[in-house]
Amino acid sequence: MTPKSFLNRRRFLTSFAVGGSAALVAGCDALSRNPTFREFLGTGEWLNYRIQRLVGGTAQAREYTEADLSPVFRTNGNTRPRSAEWERHAATDFVDYRLTVDGLVEEPQSLSLAELRSLPSRTQITRHDCVEGWSAIGKWTGVPLSAVLDRARLKDQARFIVLHCADDFGGTAYYESIDIVDAFHPQTILAYGMNDSILPTGHGAPLRLRVERQLGYKQAKFIMRIEAVDSLSDIGRGRGGYWEDVGSYNWYAGI
């Protein structure tokens, strides 16, 4: 092989690689928009949900020590709701705030923060994993969601718990939902405290969800209402959460 033919070959291969990459990227973009292929791309979520439930069962997330806490726990998403109702509550330290628990329950609830604090409480130091890739460790104190749901007594048909929030993106209210397994998981709490203080506004005051085996966007903040449902199809655009509806994020966020 002469040096010249090698160079020509190299030039040929370089243009081949660049052309190939452009065609590949364009092809993948077209596939991303194709409804049938999008359905295929949904199989990963289905498998992750089934297999992780099978492998994980009711396993608990690792709990860390005070020494492991992130020095600064960054905020993310909305850091202050724009709703007038939330502002009114914030102005009065949430004394008139009531958490509504309704939907497929025998006894709908309306719980003040004082009532929530009088229920059993749980404190856990856990890792928060954002879908973007970063992690932060924080200490959360709250009432197990199971204690609240036990008070309201779920009906047998209830399959999902929906968290309705006070914050919004462009007028669309934030919401999230979890299945019954996660709702009754011992580490799933409605947190009113963080790092030994009252839950700060940026982290979802007065009440946020901690569902420790899933990613950050499931950890709904500024919770106003909890609804038990048998199907997610009638809520929002029917995919189980704000980001699921608008951004094609997976409803199951265990990975």
């Binding site: 660049v18 973007e132 085996r213």
Partner: protein
């Protein structure tokens, strides 16, 4: 020609001369190879888009914007940069700050031609990455069982004792460095550097990729907490995932270079039809 195929399939029998066409790659190896070519490229390119969502890497359990990353891709002013520890490299045009297909400036880590999808979309890149991960898992499970069953591992991949002698390895390195590749009968089997490379990819890099990938899953960390101890925390696992991805890219580049240097048509054909023409002996 068909008798060549049969006699060489057993890797024994009469020695072949340069120029004869032999049966080199079985259907299981060929299917695995091309499945990998597609799946790993999709995994890499969708992975780079996922990285674009937070182009910082940390060691330990936690790591977010207020914490100090050991690696960072970003931009400041009109320059793009890659920072690793104290070393900062100007990467304007390729990493951190680059022009999109229509000339617009973009402040993202990896450029559009390297990512799936080509414009920023974390949700869609995750759909690709996490679905193709299952395709990959299926392919490697079938390949692993098949390779044990048909003795691909023991016959083709595990180096023989004589091949592991330092003198032999040194000679292979020297031959490769001077582009003197095996000819005739000696080209029938993988040489020791190939064996060690393929084994390294199969039993070190790919398992590391899978396990560090699982460690980033909060649900898997709950199910298998030993993952966190194995890699020293979720953010360490994320860093290792990224480093090993680039070792696989390095393997891919060297692999392509070797295919080109040793005869691309013969090599590619052997991976499609299984048949490989032994290079002629030196005169």
């Amino acid at each position: 020609m068909s008798s060549d195929v049969e006699s060489s399939a057993a890797h024994e029998g009469t020695p072949e001369r340069g120029g004869s066409l032999i049966y080199r790659h079985r259907i299981s190896t060929r299917l695995w190879h091309w499945t990998n070519a597609v799946v790993l490229l999709v995994m890499l390119m969708s992975g780079l888009m996922i990285f674009n969502a937070h182009p910082h890497l940390y060691w330990g359990s936690f790591g977010a914007n207020p914490d100090m990353p050991w690696l960072e891709i970003g931009s400041s002013g009109d320059r793009g940069f890659l920072r690793i520890g104290d070393l900062t490299v100007d990467t304007t045009g390729v990493l951190g700050l680059w022009r999109g297909p229509t000339g617009q400036l973009r402040r993202l880590a990896f450029p559009y031609w390297a990512t799936i999808p080509s414009s920023y979309n974390l949700a869609v890149s995750r759909l690709w990455h996490l679905t193709f991960a299952w395709l990959f898992a299926g392919a490697i499970a079938i390949y692993a069982i098949w390779s044990l069953f048909n003795r691909h591992l023991s016959r083709d991949l595990l180096p023989r004792t004589a091949e592991l002698k330092p003198r032999h390895i040194l000679r292979e390195v020297k031959d490769h460095a001077t582009l003197r590749f095996a000819k005739g009968e000696a080209a029938r089997n993988y040489n020791v550097l190939q064996k060690l490379t393929y084994l390294g990819v199969l039993v070190v890099l790919i398992p590391l990729m899978i396990l560090t990938g699982l460690t980033m899953s909060p649900a898997m960390d709950a199910a298998w907490p030993w993952l966190l101890d194995l890699f020293g925390g979720r953010q360490s696992a994320r860093s290792i995932h990224f480093i090993v991805a680039f070792l696989l890219v390095l393997f891919f580049v060297v692999h392509i270079v070797m295919v080109v240097l040793t005869g691309p048509i013969n090599e590619v054909r052997s991976m499609i039809t299984g048949r490989f023409r032994l290079p002629k002996e030196r005169p």
